[in-house]
Amino acid sequence: MIGWLRHHWLSFAQTARRLAANPLASLLNALAIGVALTLPLGGYVLLVNLQHFAGSAATEARISVFLVQEATRAEAAEIQARLRATPGVRSVEFVGRDAALAGLKRTPGVAEVVATLRENPLPDAFVVTLTARDAELAQRLEQQFGKLQKVAHVQADSAWVQRINSLIGFGRTAVLLTAALLAFALVTVTFNTIRLQILTQRTEIEVGKLVGATNSYIRRPFFYLGALQGALGGLAAWAIVEIGIALLNRDLAVLSGLYAVDMRLQPLDSTDGLAVLAFAAVLGWLGAYVSVSKHLYKIEPS
């Protein structure tokens, strides 16, 4: 067991030394992979931020409940009581049809239109304020209120959140697609690097086979090389995205000042960052695996 660990450690150390021996080539490889990964990663970060923004600002904790025209005062009072008794509701404000019309009349531009009306077309309504900004709660209550007697229409003000969410869904698909394509690119880049490395180490491989090295012993450093290079690429992508966010935030700070809203982009959190490293390492390993299976067996001592 210890021998086996030491074996692995030795090939890992050898791989690291090999990378360090060609710093420029290693750096360029890592950058090439990093740039390829930056596109989906950057897209992902923007999506997460958009989602975060939609989640915090958008979930207006209010639901408008419109009654049918013929609802009586008594029915309205009963509904109000029911709304108030619902868990998750903080307060219920009654907006009578007359008050609503008066409100409209004060709105410039609409006033003239309203003046031509012979009778008030507006229903009585309630504005329900919820206890929490929770899109799920809003959606549930919206459905629940819609089923009440004499309620004509329920409007959660978070409707546009759903629109953003569907937009985010679209963005996510786009990010996944680029990620899949560029993952393929990463595998290809590693495939080629490993192929070159196998050719450079041809003599070493032959000698290794002559002195009784098993295939898995010979393959191991190449797997490490692929995985390590992938991980370095992931690290480069992470760094590029962080730098990008920092630059964007500098510009956003100006906008934030003008609009008095906090619009700073959140950086990639460390769990996601580490996941990217692991993902890139796995892809690098995969590229190395394919390359080694294809090229290593052709090298035999002669």
Binding site: H7, E204, G212, A213, P301
Partner: protein, 220 residues
Amino acid sequence: MGTAIVSFSQVSKRYPGGYEALKNVSFSVEPGELLFITGHSGAGKSTLLKLIAAIERATAGVVLVAGQNVSAMRGAAIPFLRRNLGLVFQDQKLLYDRSAFDNVMLPLVVTGHPWRDAARRARAALDKVGLLERERANPITLSGGEQQRLCIARAVVNRPNILIADEPTASLDAEYADAIVEMFRSFNQVGVTVLIATHDDRAIRKLQPRVLTLHRGSLA
């Protein structure tokens, strides 16, 4: 015959393209024997040695090494066969990206030998071939004779049962050649089976070993 460490029975080797390097060769080697294989270049000496180490595979016949049928051996078993062989070939295949010491360490490193003991053995092997004081040197800075001795050190470091050398004295001065022949004899004296392909008559006259002569792929 049952105790033979290497045995060929009716072995032929035909290369792709039709060239027949060995034709119907049969012989056997007892453990601890010192055997020279001679013949003109192209007679099939190298091919014969490569068949023992499974570098080439026989197209007909059976090659047995330590009881194992090498001609039908699975690829995965070959490394373990080679760990019992010490190989010294004409193109020395030393690694020039590491020291002489690390070159000798290689056979022990690939088998996961404990490092401390491996280093001790590597130094002992270097000492035996007279290169201990050059252990830090890069092999490329060594002379032809020294490189050949380094190969021998690498071949014997894992204490193989069989030592196989292909023209170990070719391109060496007589003096160096004698030293190397003497080295093989000393390994043989401690019980290692030694097979040497050569057309160095001096060595044969000196050691008086058993000699197989190949002529155009057949035993004469």
